[in-house]
Amino acid sequence: MKGINKNYIILAGLGILLCLLPMFVTKPYYLQVIIMCILWAYLASCWNIIGGFAGQLSLGHGIYTAVGAYVAVILFNTFGLSPWLGMFVGGGIAVLLSLVIGFPTFGLRGAYYALATVAIGEAVVVLLNNTGHLGQFLIGGAEGLSVKMVGVSAAAIQFNSKVPYYYIILAMLFLIIFIAQWIKNSKLGYYLVALREDEDAAAAMGIDVRRNKLIAGAISAFFTALGGVFYAVLIRYLEPTAIAGAIMSNQMVFMTIVGGAGTVLGPVIGGITLSFISELIRFYLGSQLMGLHLFIFGLIVMLMIIFQPKGLIELKERFKRKRGSGADQNEGGESGARSASGA
């Protein structure tokens, strides 16, 4: 019991610290960096539901950020619909899209599924880049789409200060961590792990493989779309390649892998670490050499896949194990308490 309590105290402390952060970080630039780090942690966590838990290597998740962002912005620009509501319309359409795409593609295995998602992602980028108008709706094509400015308004999610954005994305991150934790311990979570490890064996056990993939894909698409809406209201400008393209899609994947795919906190750690390092390099060296931050980003991902394939989160486990073997008082006490509470 003692060990579990300690973990909760650490998490609660961390949560309070994060909530108080804007009191200490007053420079908008720093807060913007932190917001982007959390957004990436959030998006990586969304991808992790289908890519980590279910092991489906989707390389086209940018289409869901794009759907969420474009739907919310178009509804806001045309009808003045608050992005708070547009978020759910965008999320709903992303879910429909994930079902339409998922139904045929989830029949494909491994590499073929990955290739199909790449092609669909690229097709969406081409489509967005070349569609100026769709009926009465302005889409903007390659010029991009700007969010109509209405001044400070909570309903339109437009603020002068960065602080409200910080709290919104922080709440979204907590929500997705909670959902990931819930999926992990639910029946769905066990089904997903089973079909990730061996699809045929899972089917033989009576698991409806496609149905469970579709559910995981829909949950992932919905929350990814919400992330897209947040991106739209934060940046206030949508550019097809940036919001839907390979960079968007691949970053989510890389961050999850670096943090630890298939774990609840791995994508969060990976997302924050990678985007922070990337931003740091861009800030200090970016002006001197174009491409340096992405070069180092790619290098880190490569080194992680080669030397630490289970992600940063596994470092903690390893450290724990090492300490545990030296003086296993702590570890033994915790597992003992756990089995006792389970009994």
Partner: protein, 293 residues
């Protein structure tokens, strides 16, 4: 442009797509790895060829004698030091996706390295024949594209012969069919993997020298060909050599012919549509892929 000229242009571009896809299909056929760095490696080959052309002034087609061995070594050692450790670590995993992600990260590293070294400018090797056209009867075709077509077809044929009849080719095919059985027959699988990756990369050098007289080079040019190469290999059948060339030609033809009747966007969408339809109806492609999908 007459219809036949359009077809000729499509053929030449398609054959080069096929050549790029050849490396991809070889690496997949033997190592069961989708190489996401294929586009970036093509870009590196194009950059090296371009700068060698600037430095020496020799015809790009002669430069292949330098660029191809260089790219072979690059592929060989990339496999040895980057891909092999990951394959070894994932031996017991059913669908090793880490290697795929590794190559994707490798692509980002290569692209941004070239961006730092060469800048983001668009460059092209303006050779004496770059703006020439050849007239074959009523068909007119750009000289550079026509030479590209010939080079692609000849190299693809030589490559096929090499796979079929040389000892290394037999080793490659045996390893692709069953790496454990191949190892038992005394084939050095580790070395064969590295050779496969090296050859797959060296083929890109050929595509690169064929491209630079008429195609602009810039650090992100790889992405354009990458997606096309994916489409081509799935269309032809992942792992099939004739499939790669035929798939490339089909895509090249669809692009050039469709562009006469519809907008560029619709043409691009049509290519993706063909790809997805093939993927859903016959994922093993035209020539059939012997591998599990």
């Amino acid at each position: 442009m007459g219809f036949l000229s359009v077809v000729a242009n499509g053929l030449s571009m398609g054959a080069i797509y096929g050549l790029i896809a050849l490396g991809l299909t070889l690496i997949f056929g033997i190592m069961k790895i989708i190489n996401f760095a294929q586009g970036a490696l093509l870009m590196v080959s194009m950059m090296i060829s371009y700068w060698l052309w600037v430095a020496t002034g020799l015809s790009p087609y002669i430069l292949v004698l330098i660029v191809a061995p260089l790219m072979f070594l690059m592929g060989y050692f990339s496999e040895r030091f980057l891909i092999k450790p990951v394959i070894d670590a994932q031996k017991d995993v059913r669908e090793p996706v880490s290697v795929l992600l590794l190559t994707a990260a490798f692509a980002i590293v290569l692209e941004n390295l070239c961006l730092m070294l060469f800048g983001a400018d668009y460059v092209m090797a303006q050779t004496s024949f770059s703006s020439q056209t050849l007239a074959l009867g009523s068909v007119t075709v750009s000289a550079a594209r026509f030479y590209g077509l010939i080079i692609a077809l000849v190299v693809a044929f030589l490559f096929y012969m090499f796979l079929q009849y040389s000892q290394t080719g037999r080793n490659l095919r045996a390893t692709g069919q069953d790496r454990n059985a191949a190892a038992l027959m005394g084939i050095d699988v580790t070395k064969t993997y590295a050779i496969a990756f090296g050859i797959g990369t060296a083929l890109l050098a050929v595509a690169a020298v064929a491209l630079i007289p008429f195609y602009y080079v810039h650090p992100s040019v790889g992405a354009v060909f990458m997606t096309k190469a994916f489409i081509v290999v799935v269309l032809g059948g992942l792992g099939s050599v004739p499939g790669a060339i035929l798939g490339g030609i089909i895509i090249g033809l669809i692009e050039s012919v469709a562009a006469q009747y519809m907008t560029a966007t619709l043409t691009a969408m049509l290519v993706y549509l063909v790809f997805l339809v093939v993927l859903f109806i016959k994922p093993t492609g035209i020539f059939g892929s012997p591998y599990e999908w």
